[in-house]
Symmetry: C2
Subunit: 195 residues, 2 copies
Amino acid sequence: MYEPLLKHLARFIRITESEREILISNLRYKKVDKKGYLLKQGQICSGNFFVLSGCVRMFTITANGTEQIVQFGITGWWISDYHSFENNVPSDYYIQAVEDSEIAIITRSVCDDLFQQIPQLNNYFRKMMQRAYVASLKKIELLLCTSAEDRFHQFTTDFPEFVQRIPQYMLASFLGFTPEFLSMLRAKNKSVNNS
Amino acid sequence: MYEPLLKHLARFIRITESEREILISNLRYKKVDKKGYLLKQGQICSGNFFVLSGCVRMFTITANGTEQIVQFGITGWWISDYHSFENNVPSDYYIQAVEDSEIAIITRSVCDDLFQQIPQLNNYFRKMMQRAYVASLKKIELLLCTSAEDRFHQFTTDFPEFVQRIPQYMLASFLGFTPEFLSMLRAKNKSVNNS
């Protein structure tokens, strides 16, 4: 059941058979139905979540009461509020399933022990955090440097399958525009492609 | 000369005296004059840079020819184009000194060996990358959810010293508005504080 995670791990680090057993025995498996939550605002984030299948989103509620999505997680991605997780403070975020999803969890209660027992996990998560950081810097650059229209095109080119998969209003929130503006862009795009 | 780095390290991990010696013997020290470069667009980023003193900025040149700052590094921060560094590909970014700066460098040529010899460095950099990722997610949220004016106030509240230190046009670029708009906000702020 943890095969997607073990395969992912093998792309970055090598662990022994006994380390593999230790890892598996420390993971928690969770099925989350669509719209189910892994974390709610105000809770202390107690897990680092690996998406085995499905899709989840991380969002906050802004001052004016709207949802702002800051991150998605699809198969092969780790997602968590690392600030809350690491510092044991209440989270500003929600993590919610966009589709029925299967999640492997490293809980805070086993985390330190696990890193002690499998030091290579530090190497793995260093790489994971680095990739996430690089991706978020790229997003900052997109937000600051490109028009909403260019941002939309860039995103649909980079992640075509993803754009088909998630609801429109979520994509709009993630890219920082209104659902109406996104509909207009999609219609324009369609008419260009059909012409 | 590496004291700020060794102190920083000690806040997160413990290394032995001999590991400390190994680390120091593998670091490179560089003085960069104000406006000097650690990296230019098109080069492969060959170092992970720790700011011992001074201040550097990481920026790209956008399609319309303007500079877009995506990151600053002040004393105690690591900065690099990790995508270029890790994947051996040309960088989209420049890293330039904003002030005369002193830098400790882990070059790509010693990096793998160093992590092998001091495995705890994986733990340290996992935490560094995690903090950088958390900060950049927070910035994405600020860019998407808050008005330029609120963004400015948030930033000046969180980093008052920093706002005094860097040139206005750089702060404007980092926060995503024009220098003129920033001047207007500062003038408005001043008149509110004086009234």
